[in-house]
């Protein structure tokens, strides 16, 4: 399955040309001039306007000049680009000319790379995300269109003066051809394929002089002021929405909650992702507001952004989510049953609930942004909600029945030590409570120790530059001092990413595994089939809010049984979502499951919270 981007072939070609500005510079310094700097002994060379080498660490300029090699048929391409970048001396810091969207492109690139190391197929980066991004640039009129925003305003006259440029030449060099690594890998990364380069368009002559006073990027100031209706502006959180859309398109085995957890655990670049921009992409002033982030992503927020972007990009219907997909509720239920240490036998029941509610249908699960009401299932939250409903069906969770059923199971297990044990809710609760508390404590501790500030300090203007830098230096020094007081054995080692957060074994009594336990104690034979012993049920939400306040329920914890609170807490911690969010999803599943009851209660306005099952 491939995604087609509606743009002409020419553009596609040029966009897929892999070129690495960064690589070129590296290539130059590595291949041609490896001597140590006479002043500071570093081997880190840049080129001046005159094509002479200068040391990037001490700014010592040498007499050696660059001999243009490897330029082939088009000699005025890359090296000129570098020179042009260095010409902007009026800026606070010398560096390349780069556009904000290139920054985002770089972040997306890093994130895609990170996903690849997490085991996601390379197509995600090379095809899907790449095409989504191109489509975004096109839709937001930044490139791949007749009148990109940057050229249409100020540079139009320049272009007219330059009739030799064809249409596609006029697109700004901000596309993957320039200064940013492209998504698509080339065979020989270190050997940039200069021959496929288009001639460098001579635009933005006088434009950045004024703008760059307040930002390192060419269009930082413009970008932060830009407020066009109907345009979804790129932000750092939206990069994750892009990633998640790409994962969904590829039907990968990473859910949104997984993705966000990986971000929090630093497996996917997000906070301070700009740190890894090439050295020459300087950030300051307005760039700070655009790229600096001081919060972790939030599930609901990213979820909303996913839909927003998919709609904005006008994406076609996504590939079908069928029963064999990881994102299908049956699969996810299986995964989460294992994760929270519940008996495998429960899967049978979750499958039934999925079937009865219809949430396993392809049409329900498949994301279709063009549909009237664009929405996608919250796959992970929904699967977990199904498990909660099944737990309520089996144990009622009224702080009473679950314990009396536990007594029966306990007695049975004592008498029949050889048999497959009956699932004992109390024992499970004790094991889970302990594990959850430990995990939560650890989680809070790691969060408290999180280092937010980047090694590259960001400043607003030249006035506060020195202060910000000194402050950073001070913090680094103080941190050094306190790190000597910490045990030398590093305890904060990065956890390796895993889609499971718990693990259960038979051996350790604190981590007893309940997967193999049987549900016999809570089911009875009725004719040929098994039904639950418990015939009662209570609805998590009696009435749904019908106003426009966007939430359909409220979750006032104290109104609910302690068991229910515990279950909701456990699962919402697992997904790192708010408890009310999960409660709402449980209510929505119940709404589908007890359709008739809901319509009846509406008519009778019955006060009873108890509804007979089936």
């Amino acid at each position: 399955m491939t995604l087609e981007v509606t743009s002409n072939d020419k553009q596609n070609q040029s966009a897929t040309c892999p070129t690495f500005h960064m690589e070129i510079l590296k290539g130059i310094s590595k291949k041609e001039f490896k001597e140590r700097c006479t002043q500071c002994a570093a081997v880190s060379w840049g080129l001046t306007d005159e094509g002479k080498y200068y040391c990037t660490s001490c700014h010592n300029v040498t007499e050696r000049s660059k001999e243009v090699v490897n330029t082939g048929a088009i000699p005025n391409t890359k090296i000129q680009a570098i020179n042009r970048g260095l010409k902007r001396k009026r800026k606070l810091e010398k560096g390349w000319d780069w556009y904000v969207c290139e920054g985002f492109q770089h972040i997306l690139y890093q994130q895609a790379e990170a996903l690849k190391t997490l085991g996601v197929g390379p197509e995600l980066k090379n095809e899907v995300l790449h095409n989504f991004w191109k489509r975004y640039l096109q839709k937001s009129k930044q490139a791949y269109c007749k009148n990109p925003v940057y050229t249409s305003k100020r540079k139009a006259p320049v272009l007219e003066d330059n009739p030799s440029h064809s249409d596609w030449d006029s697109e700004p060099e901000l596309l993957s051809d320039f200064s940013c690594p492209s998504f698509v890998e080339s065979g020989a990364e270190s050997q940039p394929d200069v021959h496929t380069q288009k001639p460098f368009p001579i635009i933005k002559a006088s434009q950045s002089e004024t703008a760059s006073i307040c930002s390192g990027s060419v269009d930082g100031v413009e970008y932060s002021l830009r407020k066009e209706k109907g345009i979804v502006k790129m932000t750092v959180p939206r990069t994750l929405a892009f990633c998640c859309l790409a994962l969904l398109w590829q039907r990968e085995t990473i859910t949104l909650s997984d993705l966000l957890r990986f971000v929090e655990e630093d497996h996917i670049p997000y906070i301070n992702a700009f740190q890894h921009f090439p050295e020459e992409m300087k950030l300051y002033g307005r760039d700070k507001g655009i790229f600096a982030i001081e919060s972790w992503p939030n599930y609901e927020d990213i979820y909303k952004k996913m839909i927003e972007i998919a709609t904005f990009l006008d994406l076609p219907r996504f590939p079908d989510i069928t029963e064999d997909c990881y994102l299908h509720p049956n699969m996810l239920c299986l995964k989460y049953l294992m994760e929270v240490n519940l008996p495998d036998e429960m899967h049978n029941l979750t499958c039934q609930v999925v079937k009865m509610t219809g949430i396993g249908e392809v049409d329900f699960l498949t994301f279709d942004p063009i549909a009237k009401m664009a929405k996608t299932a919250k796959y992970d939250v929904q699967a977990v909600a199904v498990i909660v409903v099944v737990l309520k069906l089996l144990f009622l969770l009224d702080d009473n029945l679950e314990w009396s059923l536990s007594n029966i199971a306990e007695k049975y297990n004592e008498k029949n030590k050889e048999d497959k044990p009956w699932f004992d809710f109390r024992k499970w609760y004790q094991v889970m409570k302990k594990s959850l508390d430990e995990k939560k404590q650890k989680w809070e501790e790691t969060r408290a120790k999180y280092l937010w500030k980047s090694e590259k300090p960001l400043y607003h203007s030249s006035i506060d530059k020195s202060v910000v830098c000194k402050r950073r230096e001070m913090v680094v020094n103080l941190q050094k001092q306190f790190s000597t007081l910490v045990d030398s054995t590093p305890t904060i080692g990065k956890k390796s990413p895993s889609s499971f957060q718990f693990n259960w074994t038979e051996e350790d009594p604190d981590r007893t595994c309940f997967h193999g336990h049987s549900l016999q104690g809570v089911l009875t034979k009725k004719g040929q089939s098994l039904t639950t012993k418990n015939s009662l049920y209570w609805l998590s939400t009696q009435k749904f809010c019908r106003s426009y306040c966007k939430h359909v329920t409220t979750y006032e914890e104290s109104n609910f049984s302690l068991s229910y609170q515990f279950i909701i807490n456990l699962f919402s911690f697992l997904l790192r979502i708010k408890t009310s969010f999960l409660h709402e999803e449980v209510s929505l599943i119940e709404k589908r499951l007890f359709k008739t009851k809901y319509s009846k209660t509406k008519k009778k306005s019955s006060r009873s919270r108890k509804v007979r099952k089936y």
Binding site: K449, R471, L478, F482, L485
Partner: protein, 454 residues
Amino acid sequence: MQKSMSDFSEELIKSTTEDDQGERCELSGTGMHFPWLQKHIETVATGGKKEKDFAQTTSACLSFIQEALLKHQWQQAAEYMHSYLQVLEDSDSCKRQAAPEIIWKLGSEILYYHPKSNVEAFNAFADRMKNIGVMNYLKISLQHALYLLHHGMLEDANRNLSQAETWRYGEKSSSQEVLINLIQAYKGLLQYYAWSKKKMELSQLDKDDYAYNTASQNMLDHSWKTSVNLGALIQIPGVWDPFVKSYVEMLEFYGDQDGAREVLTNYAYDEKFPSNPNAHIYLYNFLKREKAPREKLISVLKILYQIVPSHKLMLEFHRLLRKSEKEEHHKLGLEVLFAVLDFAGCTKNITAWKYLAKYLRQTLMGSHLAWVQEEWSSRKNWWPGFHFSYFWAKSDWKEDKALACEKALVAGVLSGKGCRYFRYISKQDHQVFRKKIKRMKKLVKKYSIINPGL
């Protein structure tokens, strides 16, 4: 280095206006604040905007540090401190400005106790923290000096104080002025210490020795410098006990009795100064040394009696009052004894009981029954249970028989023969105390204020 650091401080202050307009809040100068209210106001000001995770995790980090310190887990505290230092880079200028003081307090605590820490580490930390922001320079310098004193590094402490003394930043705020005075006073205290050592040496020298003259000359120089340093601070209302004491000692040594008296009188009687028992004790001791008239001494101790009626000088006060010619003083003498024994810490003070027993007899002999009744009326409800219980009788007799006899006499006189304490003691048969107990019984019979007929 020093210079560039202070420049940094200036810039730091300037730069706060650059960042985050609208998120500023003024710290009140009164030193009183409601942290929760502050927080509440902040969220209101930002329109209930969700707190950033950065703010949330750093405040969690702070609680973890506090918890670790409470549990003496220095290592963990250091680990969290490593992360907490980020608040120095907080984009919220209000929090950023409050951060250095918090970091200094917590960090110095960690470095003081952490087993891997040492003086060098502490010095490095203090020097760094002094130069973040301007408001903390003096406070940290002073605390740094105290730390060095703790470690016996007097010279380093002195150097530190001298450096702080000369530090100036723009217009000094009033709080900073007090700090400068305090720093000077501590310097003075250090000089006093050196002087005191010299005095010791001097006392061991022969007066006719050649070395004696140079040494005494040396001391003279010292004294002059010190008095300048100490004198300024003790003019300001406050509790300056060690400074006053050493200052007075030096004044006295050089024969400036008037100066010393003036300092002490001012310290004790100036109404701007907080009520301070030690001020009166110092003055009393000075006057005693001076052999001041009894009347004068009594007037000083009268004030001390009002502040600390249980002070051990009260027995001395009683003696003075007893010896006085005035009748009102005699009455006060009784009051003072009763008041001393009101305190749980004095219940086993045999001298107090002895005085009371003797003075009760004397008072009653002098037919001042009314005085005794006056004192006793407010105590008869609780003294029997407090002092004269069966339990105390038993334990006092076991521990200190002499005390038990004195107490029994008082008990008998005040609560009559039926008193449990008296009864218990009077029944005891002991070779040494037989005579005493017999006499006690006789006295009780004669003087008891309780009419046996009633």
